[in-house]
Structures are given as structure tokens and as C-alpha cells.
Symmetry: C2
Subunit: 353 residues, 2 copies
């Protein structure tokens, strides 16, 4: 595995330089400003090689014939703490499990760091902790170390959780943006937009006819099924902040390829489609917490789809990596023609995860 | 190594039960209430065995002849962000490096999760990140994966950082409270009380004649020197929240032994002693960020001290594990007689780390 050992997502588009001023909410949105912050502040300080911090997790190397391990971290600041289909606890477990899965790793061990605002109800904390326990059991991962800090009332927002994770890399070949090849198929693991819409609906007090539940779920099952079936996976990415569009743009830019997507192939439920129209959202940019894209050789696509559909019937090949030898970006084929997808500058929905 | 894979500090003393109500600041102080929270809420949900969550880090097991790895996490909420002798960045690196060192591990890889309050100056963030880079280089550890979240103004306090760490266990025998034996020597690695006093002085705007600097520093150097010299280490603990007294009480309780300490042997600088008198603090309970105790066989004590003094001339044998076969606790031998040390119920200094 020639991937280096690091993992901030890669910056891709022009945005205001982070030379002075103050941090804005949009710096946390996963769009251009987040990438700027990483590219201009974190990467120069921490990265040891140019490809460092381009993936969901880092690959750890130890002496001798040791197993390849993946290591990843995420802090969760979702508001509200409890939402339809999950809470900050299940999100914190599944989110980090999924970052490990995206490295082709079997999630094994998690840490849990709690920053609690003074005044949080013990019942709420207990319910979140119980939810973490359940999510960890479902994902087959153990929470083995932890830390608790309490900050004064008004210096937090109930509860922030960091989970970091260590997983055993099960894929025999490298999984990274740099492994994407022209002609590869792009597979989406299920319908999109549910997490972001669920959060926004409860935040805004909107009652839709059909309650939309977050898709928050562990992705290690479908990923390990593909690996066990011998499917060659070039890259994977889960579709969190910034949604499907942002994930594809990041991959296209890191791999320096054009990704062509067929809009009509992207599964979106009627409920999410309707809610997005009412809320003025583009489902392509809405966060998910249980969906990913896999980039595989076209010859492996049917086999991969067969395995993914055991977990979600709506898994679908949504496009391909273009054969064109130059340029990078994401082109969406719509009924009306083609359009280039662009990364959001700021934040569609703050504190979505 | 029969230690199980977990690491919340162990609860030791009676305190109000955490059955209802709200989280208070004191739940984060590292004293009785913190232990109650862990014992009644986190441990039942996460621990797989009774000894789980009793140490600074977890030991990870993988199939085959894989190396033993230590895994640990800490969130840092220190106020102010920058203080004499360090800042939240160097603290976040050294604190987690030190938790790994306490497991007898060589720190290798860190993650960094940032929860930034909207409005934080980019210059402050840059300076903290630069400080992390420097601290990581000094400790010989790499920051390989990260995450950034931004919360609204008034929902944070500038910056909170979580670091998690993975280290390679270098000690050939288990290092854990359960390995402590009667007759063992207790060695303190240097003078105590500097971090807590430095923080409080700057918070309260106090100017002492001699500026007191935090002792914030990596402990992997002295720990690995002892291991490389073949010294048998039964247990170690760094003296963070709750200070020397709390660390010793935790160890005595987890090992079910009496630890007898000679007050006159404990190094405290004149500056810290004077500041504690003015501030009404007991130096034994004041937080440190670059000091630890090592519990070693008495026959190894002189050799251990020789190595520790290469790093800090003030390292000293401060007491022994009592031969008495029953009871547990910490007895302080003072000029006036003996006194039993008790864990603080709440918090001496909130948000010290």
C-alpha cells in the first residue's frame, strides 16, 4: 500500500484565502472554505507528503509483519441532539465506523471524548450513551477508551462528542482517490438526502406527511461484503457534509479525472424530493450518514451491485469516470443537457453532523 | 499482557449518585463526581470486563503476531487558550502523548479534532496549529488525520481540541494498577503544581515575582528510557486533573493497596508553594501536564531514579506501597503525623486541561 498516512479531505476550488480575519460558520460546512482552512492552515503544519490528508482516514505503519491499520477521527456537533432516525450518539459511532469502512477497513475499536455543557440533563446523556452502546454493538465495534470534560453553561451546546477509530484494513489493494482510473464505474449505495432533510425538518418544526428519518447507519457491512467477494475497489467515500456532489467533486479533483453522472440514475425518495422542493435544497448537496459511493472497474460493477443490493435495494450505478485524458470535475447529465457541479462555497446546513 | 482493552479512570469514593438531575461543572473535575459519572453511566454501557476503563489508555488486540498497541483519547477545553509555558495546542499533543507513555507505549500517531467557535481569530488558530506541529515534532509523533467543525458564536469558547493517539507498546510486561505490589517504590518524576498555578495566575490576572510556567511536556522520553534500561515498571500515571493526590488515590484503590507517601520528599518549587498559599490551593491536588508517578519494585528504584534524573533532576522516591495486607488508600506522612488523602468531591480548578 503506497498510500501515505493521513486524511484531511482535499481542497479543490478557489475560495477566499485564510490569511487573516476570523473563523466563520461556513469554515465548518465541508465546502470550499473548509477546504481552504485545511489546505492553508492544517495541511502545511501536519502533512508529511503531498497526498497526505486526502482521504477519510490514515493508514498506520508499524515495524515488521504487522497488520495495516486505519485510523480516523470526527467530532460531532449535530443540533438537535436527538432527531428522527438517530441521535448524536449513534451518529458519532456510525460516522467514525463509516470513515474506517471507506478505507477498506473492518472497524474494531473506538474512543469517545465527551465535551458536556453544564446543565445537560443526565437522562439525555444516559440516552445518548445507551444509543452509542447499541450502535457499537450493531457495527461490531468496541468503545474502549474515553474522556469527559464539562464546560460552563453558555460555552457549549448540550453535548459534543469526538470519536476516533482504529480498524483492520481488509482490502488487499490500495483504496484511495489516486487509485481511480478512467472508465471506472461509480456506484451509489442507496437513496440520498435523508439525514439532512430529517435534521432540518425537526429544526424548523416542519411536519411532512411522511416523517423522513435519517439514514444514519454503519457501512462496514456492505463494504466488507464487497471486499470478501473479491471486488476490486479503487476508492470509496461516504456522503456526509456537502452530500453526493461534494464527495464526487473531491474525488474527481484528487484523482484528476472527470466523473460523469446520470441524474436520472440517482435514487431520491419522493418524500425527500418533496421536502427539498419546499425547503429550497438541492438533494445532491444534502448530507447523508449511511450512504457512500464506490468507484470500481466497470467489469466489477455488476458483481458489486449484486452485493450492495443485499443491503439496500436502491444501490445503483450512477455514472462513470470519463475516458477524457485531461481536465477534472463532475458533469451531471440531466434531461436538459449537461451541467458542471461546483462545490458550495459555504454551508448549506450548519451543524448537520 | 492480560490487561483488557479499555481506560476510563476508576471510581474510588462515595459521591452523589448520578441517577437524575443535570451535569454540573464538578462532573468534569476529575474527582469523585467524575468517577461517579464514569462508573454509573459510561462503564455499564461500554466496558466488557470489570477492569475495563481503569487506566490511561486501552490495549488493542489484533489477530496473529501483531504488535501490541495502546489507544487513548482526550478532549482539551483549557481556558485561556494560551498560557505561560504552553497553549491548548501543545497541551493537546503532550496530554495524549503522555497517556500513551503511561501505558508503556511509544507514541506514534495522533488524530486532531477541532471544534471551533465562530469568530475565533485565524491568527490564534494558526498559532495553536503551529504549536501542535512543534509539540508533535518534539515528541516524535505524527498528526495523521483530523476533522474541523465550527459552532455558532456563544456555543463554544474559542476552541476545543480532541486528540486521540495510537502507540506501540514497548514494555514487555503489563503496566496497570493491578500489577502494583506491596513493597513497591513510588517515584515522582519532578516538582508538582506548575500547570494549575500557571493557568490560575493568568486567569486571575495575578503577577507573581517569578512567572510560573506550565510544566506541559512530553513524558515519552523518560518512560522509554526506563523501559530501554530494563526497569520493571508495575504502573505509571500522569498527574493531570486532581494532581498527585488524586492519581495516587486512584492507583491505591484500583490495586487495593495502601500507598504511604513522605510529604517532605515531594518536590514543590518555592514559587509554586508561595502561589498556592496566596491562592488557597493544596499543591498535592493541583494539575500537572508533564509529571508522572512510576510504581516499580523497590530493588529497581535507584536505577529508575538514575534514568529519570537525566530528564529532571528533581525526580524523587516519594514513598512506598505498604506491606499491610488489607485496606486501601493514601497516607501522607507529615511533620505532624499521618493523614489520609481523600479525593476531592468536585473541582479545584475548572477547565484546567
Amino acid at each position: 500500500m503506497n498510500k501515505s498516512e493521513s486524511s484531511f479531505p482535499l481542497p479543490v476550488c478557489p475560495a477566499p484565502h485564510v490569511t487573516s480575519g476570523v473563523v466563520e460558520l461556513a469554515h465548518g460546512g465541508g465546502g470550499r472554505l473548509t477546504h481552504r482552512l485545511i489546505d492553508e492552515l492544517f495541511r502545511p503544519a501536519f502533512a508529511a507528503a503531498p497526498d497526505d490528508f486526502t482521504h477519510d482516514g490514515a493508514v498506520l505503519a508499524f515495524e515488521g509483519a504487522s497488520p495495516h491499520l486505519a485510523f480516523t477521527t470526527d467530532s460531532y456537533v449535530v443540533r438537535p441532539l436527538i432527531f428522527p432516525g438517530g441521535d448524536i450518539g449513534s451518529l458519532a459511532v456510525n460516522g467514525t465506523v463509516n470513515d474506517l469502512a471507506m478505507c477498506g477497513a473492518e472497524p474494531r475499536y473506538l474512543s469517545a471524548g465527551f465535551v458536556i455543557e453544564e446543565g445537560l440533563s443526565i437522562d439525555t446523556l444516559r440516552s445518548v450513551v445507551e444509543s452509542m452502546r447499541g450502535a457499537a454493538a450493531t457495527a461490531g465495534v468496541r468503545i474502549v477508551t474515553g474522556d469527559t470534560k464539562v464546560v460552563e453553561c453558555g460555552k457549549g451546546d448540550g453535548l459534543y462528542i469526538n470519536t476516533s477509530g482504529v480498524g483492520l484494513i481488509r482490502s488487499r489493494s490500495a483504496i484511495a482517490p489516486q487509485c481511480i482510473q478512467r472508465g471506472d464505474a461509480v456506484i451509489l449505495s442507496g437513496d440520498i438526502g435523508r439525514h439532512g432533510v430529517a435534521i432540518l425538518a425537526v429544526r424548523e418544526g416542519l411536519g411532512f406527511e411522511t416523517e423522513i428519518m435519517s439514514d444514519c447507519a454503519p457501512l462496514s457491512g456492505p463494504v466488507l461484503a464487497m471486499i470478501d467477494a473479491g471486488i476490486e475497489i479503487h476508492c470509496m467515500r461516504d456522503l456526509t457534509r456537502g452530500g453526493l456532489a461534494t464527495a464526487l467533486i473531491e474525488l474527481a479533483d484528487a484523482a484528476n479525472v472527470v466523473i460523469e453522472i446520470d441524474e436520472s440514475a440517482i435514487p431520491v425518495s419522493d418524500a425527500v424530493r418533496g421536502a427539498c422542493e419546499i425547503l429550497g435544497l438541492d438533494a445532491l448537496y444534502v448530507a447523508n450518514e449511511g450512504r457512500f459511493v464506490a468507484v470500481v472497474p466497470d467489469s466489477n460493477a455488476a458483481h458489486a451491485l449484486e452485493h450492495l443490493r443485499r443491503f439496500d435495494q436502491m444501490a445503483e450505478v450512477i455514472g462513470h469516470v470519463g475516458a477524457c485524458p485531461s481536465g477534472s470535475g463532475v458533469r451531471l447529465l440531466t434531461m436538459g443537457g449537461k451541467r458542471e457541479l461546483d462545490m458550495l462555497s459555504g454551508e448549506q446546513l450548519p451543524r448537520i453532523c
